[in-house]
C-alpha cells in the first residue's frame, strides 16, 4: 500500500509496537514531527513525550517515550525508546506525584549533580502528564 509504512517501537526491555501505520507523530528534540509515508531519511533524538501512531484504517494508538532516537526511512520508521509504555498504562496520580517531587528537589538544588537530575526528572514527569492530558482530551471529544 502506498499510503502506509512500517513502524517499530522498541525499548531496551521489550518490543512495544510493530505494525503498518499511516502516520507517526513524535516529539523530536527540535519540535514535534509528523511522519507520513515517503519521508526523507531522518535521524533525530526524541524528547520525553507522547508518540502517536495512526494505524492503517485510522485507529490511533498512544505511547509514552522517555527519550530515545527515531530513525525514518521512506518505508520504515524505527523508534528506539529509552523506556516506552502504552499511554493508557500511565497513571496520572503517579505522574503528578513525580512532578511535585521533582519540583521540590529542583527548588532545593543542593548540589550540581542533583540539580541536573532533578531537571531531567521534572521534564519527564511533565511529559508524562502531557501524554495523559492529550489522551484525556481526545477521549472527552470522542
Amino acid at each position: 500500500m502506498a499510503n502506509s509504512f512500517t513502524c517499530n517501537i522498541v525499548s531496551a526491555e521489550a518490543s512495544i509496537f510493530s505494525g503498518t501505520v499511516e502516520q507517526v507523530i513524535a516529539s523530536g528534540i527540535m519540535g514535534d514531527l509528523g511522519i507520513l509515508p515517503g519521508h526523507a531519511p531522518l535521524l533525530t533524538e526524541l524528547k520525553p513525550g507522547p508518540v502517536r501512531v495512526i494505524q492503517d484504517g485510522g485507529k490511533e494508538e498512544n505511547f509514552y517515550v522517555s527519550g530515545g532516537f527515531m530513525e525514518v526511512q521512506p518505508d520504515v520508521v524505527t523508534i528506539l525508546a529509552d523506556a516506552a509504555s502504552r499511554a493508557s498504562d500511565l497513571n496520572e496520580a503517579a505522574a503528578e506525584e513525580a512532578r511535585q517531587q521533582a519540583l521540590k528537589a529542583f527548588n532545593e538544588k543542593s548540589t550540581e549533580l542533583d540539580y541536573t537530575r532533578a531537571a531531567a526528572e521534572l521534564a519527564e514527569a511533565v511529559a508524562q502528564l502531557r501524554t495523559i492530558q492529550q489522551l484525556r482530551k481526545k477521549a472527552g471529544k470522542g
Partner: protein, 295 residues
C-alpha cells in the same frame, strides 16, 4: 565391620552432595528461564539499533564519526570480556578464555598490544593469573544486570578508543545456541564493520549505498555521538544477558551430570558395602562352625 562402616559414611556424604547438586540443578533451571526471558526481551532493541547503524553505514554522511572509520594501523586492541560471577558452570568460562587467547595471540603476532575489561568476577580472577593489562573490571552484576551497571566499564573502553589508545574494540561472550550448547564468540564492536547491519534484510533491495544521507536533528555530530554510544551499550548489555542465560544453562547441565555421577558412585559403593557385609557374615558363620567342630 569396620570397613563396612567407613563405606556407609562415605555413601552418606555422597548422598548429601547429591542432594546439593540436584537442588542447584533445579535452581539453575528456574533461573535459566528468567535469564532467557531477559535475553529475549532485549533482542528487539538490539536488533533494531543494529539495523539503524547498518543503514547509517550505507549512507553517505556529511560527518564521518570516529567510530565508523577504519584505522590504518592497529597498535592496541581492547577486549570486553563477559564472564560469570560464580563457578560450577562446567567449562563455560574456560572455553571463553581459550577462544579469547586464541584471538589475542593472533594480534600479538601482528605486534598489537592488548587491553582487557573484565565483566564478572571470573574474568577478573583469570586476568590476575594470566597477567593481561586489565583496565576496567566490574563484578557482581547479578541475575538482572542493568545497563546502568555497565556504563562505567564501557565508558573506560570508549574513552580509550576516543583518545586513540585503542584502535579496535571487541566484546567476548558466550552465545546461547540452546540449553545444551553455548558457543564462545569474539565480536568486533569498533570500528563499526559494514557486516553489522547484515540482518537488515527488509530493505536490501532498495539499499543504495553511498548515494544519500539522513537529515539530522539536532546536528549530525551530537546525534551520532549519543546514538553510537547507545549502540555500543546495548550490544554489551545484550552480550551480558546472553552470557547470563548461558551461565544458568551450563550450570544446570553441569549439576545434572554431577547428580548422575553421584548416583553412579553410590551404586558402586553400595555394591562394595554389600560385599563387605556378606564377607563379614560368611566369616562369622565359618568361625562359629569351626568353633563348634572343635568342641
Amino acid at each position: 565391620m569396620a570397613a563396612a562402616k567407613e563405606i556407609r559414611t562415605q555413601i552418606g556424604s555422597i548422598k548429601n552432595t547429591q542432594k546439593i547438586t540436584s537442588a542447584m540443578e533445579m535452581v539453575a533451571a528456574s533461573k535459566m528461564r528468567k535469564a532467557q526471558d531477559l535475553m529475549r526481551a532485549g533482542q528487539p532493541y538490539a536488533r533494531q539499533i543494529r539495523n539503524v547503524v547498518g543503514h547509517m553505514a550505507d549512507a553517505n554522511p556529511e560527518y564521518k564519526h570516529d567510530y565508523m572509520v577504519e584505522r590504518s594501523e592497529v597498535k592496541r586492541v581492547g577486549y570486553i570480556v563477559v564472564s560469570t560471577d560464580r563457578g560450577l558452570c562446567g567449562g563455560l568460562n574456560h572455553n571463553l578464555f581459550k577462544a579469547l587467547l586464541k584471538e589475542a595471540v593472533i594480534w600479538k603476532k601482528q605486534g598489537a598490544e592488548q587491553d582487557f575489561c573484565a565483566l564478572g568476577a571470573k574474568a577478573s580472577t583469570f586476568f590476575r593469573n594470566y597477567g593481561g593489562n586489565l583496565v576496567a573490571a566490574k563484578s557482581g552484576l547479578g541475575e538482572a544486570p542493568t545497563v546502568e551497571g555497565l556504563i562505567g566499564s564501557i565508558k573506560v573502553m570508549l574513552e580509550a578508543y576516543d583518545e586513540g589508545r585503542l584502535d579496535r574494540l571487541y566484546v567476548v561472550y558466550n552465545e546461547f545456541v540452546n540449553t545444551m550448547t553455548q558457543k564462545p564468540v569474539v565480536r568486533q564492536l569498533l570500528p563499526l564493520s559494514p557486516d553489522m547491519g547484515a540482518d537488515a534484510e527488509q530493505d536490501d533491495e532498495n539499499a543504495r549505498p553511498g548515494s544519500w544521507d539522513y537529515l539530522y536533528e539536532p546536528d549530525a555530530k551530537a546525534l551520532l555521538d549519543s546514538l553510537l554510544v547507545r549502540f555500543i551499550e546495548s550490544q554489551v548489555y545484550q552480550a551480558v544477558v546472553e552470557n547470563g542465560a548461558c551461565e544458568q544453562a551450563a550450570r544446570m547441565i553441569a549439576m545434572k551430570s554431577a547428580t548422575d555421577n553421584a548416583g553412579g558412585l553410590i551404586d558402586d559403593l553400595e555394591m562394595v558395602y554389600n560385599k563387605a557385609r556378606q564377607a563379614a557374615i560368611t566369616q562369622e558363620i565359618s568361625e562359629i562352625v569351626g568353633g563348634a567342630a572343635a568342641v
